[in-house]
Amino acid sequence: MRGRPVGPDPVVWVDRLEKVFDVPERDEGLRAATKSLVRRKTREVRAVDGISFEIAPGEIVGFLGPNGAGKTTTLKMLSGLLYVSGGEARVLGHVPSRRERAFLRRISLVMGNRNQLQWDLPALDSFELNRSIYQIPRADFLALRDELIELLEVGDLVRKPVRQLSLGERMKVEIVGSLLHRPQVLFLDEPTIGLDVTMQKRIREFIAAYRRRHDATVMLTSHYMADVEALCERVIVIHHGKILFDGDLAALADTVAAWKTIAVVLQNGAGDLSSYGEVIHRDGDLVTLRVAKAETARVTARLLAEQEVLDLNVEDPPIEDVIELVFAQQATQ
């Protein structure tokens, strides 16, 4: 799938990108273990299998897929941490693997399950290292550092050794460290993983604010659909290294899940509503129906006309269900 074209100067341009790993494997048992000392068996794994897409300046794109789909591998190739096995990738016009200074100073990769801050040092000391390496003038550094610290409310945390911070606190100071050089392109790999809902919301709001303020381009992976719905207008869905969908988040639901849900509460209790649509949930007087999108208006009108309706809500299917359906459809093909 080529993905939609985004204009003449995409920030991220990926063409038939591939990454193949040779993964060692052996059978169980002493004999196999001994044999593997002499002759190692490997299996070829196509982590990324010929994907193509473009991302325009200022765009924020959700990169979705189950574990092992190839999301992190793709982000690592786009950050220059992994060499490509095939195809091409350019970020801000640079080939990432060349490690050009002009490229590295304009990007940042934030990984929710990794850290750039030294575990035993206060974050402020690690920020100083970033100042040296990214050549940030001291005045600019102090201004942005303090601004980020204030925005994320981590003034008390940056003076403590990182190991003393909770997961959410650590993530916030990691984000400060990643943004000190004002990157134009942000690769965010599960930035809210393991955080409570309040902290997730705070991080989401911050990412949106940073993107607006600095006109940054963001590529985000997350297993939390709330992140994706709040931040991304466009999503790329990847599975087994291949792109299954690339387009507007709303269009994904339209394309894959051609139904809506109608949640209805009836005055006279919940009778048999199967003639209106597929009953997918029932909780006392509340019944949730699944109906074809084209039928939604007609079914709603029928319910209002034929039943004593106390409350009625028409909703698009939850994004989690839509994504699950994408994977399920792919599995059956």
Partner: protein, 277 residues
């Protein structure tokens, strides 16, 4: 020209940042460092006391000379250990801390990244060697009337260039083999320990080991340090030790950087650039 100067300045500032970070980390672990220093002192004393033990059991030796020689060997080896450890940990420690991806993504050339590690290791190692020598010497009534400490210090500083080059080569091992790399680094370090005449003259070794000793910078560093401290040799008379060190340094630094760059390429192709656990 101006661009080159700007780039060089950026690189040096970046290397300075690496030195600064190592300073913060050393300060953070200062009690651990002191405990390790105590262990090194104990280990060095154990070795130097061997000279007095031999005399006590009837051996005919010049105790002052043998004890001084052993002390120099132990201190120089402790210094080398510090250099190797810092450089080997360039990858292994970052992998353990989980910062390896970020370090390798930073806009700093690998040469300057490793130079930052090397400069801190030399500064810290030399300071530690001076303390170690002073503390251990206090335990023995050693006579070093002609000692030329400045010349010994300079020989060690010149030798450090070669050690850094070899250290960079060994530091790549954890990069290409996360499971076994560090252990292989100790194999390289152990080989230098056996062949370089740390506690005995190289001449006692079998011929094939003496051949390896000829390409070990530690051999020349130890000979030079002993000549300067025990015989009071001036720097001008130590050319026989200095020129091999300069040649080994001139070869090992670019070779080390090349080996490291190949290792990094391999790690990026095979997905080895990731944290442990």
């Amino acid at each position: 020209m101006r661009t080159l100067a700007t780039t060089m300045r950026a690189e040096l500032v970046g290397a300075g940042g690496v030195v600064e970070r190592n300073f913060y980390l050393t300060k953070r672990y200062i009690w651990w460092d002191l405990a390790w220093f105590f262990w090194t002192v104990a280990n060095t004393l154990t070795i130097v006391f061997i000279a007095q033990g031999i005399e006590l059991t009837g051996g005919q030796i010049d105790v002052n000379s043998v004890a001084t020689s052993l002390l120099i060997g132990a201190v120089v080896w402790a210094y080398l250990g510090v250099l190797f450890e810092f450089l080997m940990e360039t990858v292994a420690w970052e992998r353990w801390e989980g910062t390896i991806e970020y370090t390798f993504m930073a806009p700093l050339s690998r040469a300057m990244h490793l130079a930052g590690q090397g400069v801190f290791a030399i500064s810290y190692g030399l300071l530690r060697a001076v303390f170690l020598f002073t503390v251990c010497a206090l335990f023995f009534d050693l006579s070093m009337p002609d000692a030329n400490f400045l010349a010994a210090f300079i020989v060690l500083a010149v030798a450090s260039i070669s050690f850094i080059g070899i250290g960079v080569m060994t530091s790549v091992l954890p990069l290409i083999s996360p499971e076994k790399g560090t252990q292989l680094g100790f194999v390289a370090q152990g080989t230098l320990l056996v062949v370089s005449g740390v506690y005995y003259p190289v001449e006692v070794l079998p011929g094939w080991m003496q051949a390896i000793a000829k390409i070990s910078p530690a051999t020349y560093a130890l000979e030079g340090a002993r000549e300067a401290i025990m015989d009071g040799a001036p720097l001008a008379e130590m050319w026989d030790e200095i020129w091999p060190l300069l040649i080994i340094g001139a070869v090992s630094i670019p070779l080390g950087l090349w080996v490291f760059s190949r290792g990094e390429l391999y790690a990026k192709r095979h997905g080895k650039l990731k944290r442990s656990g």
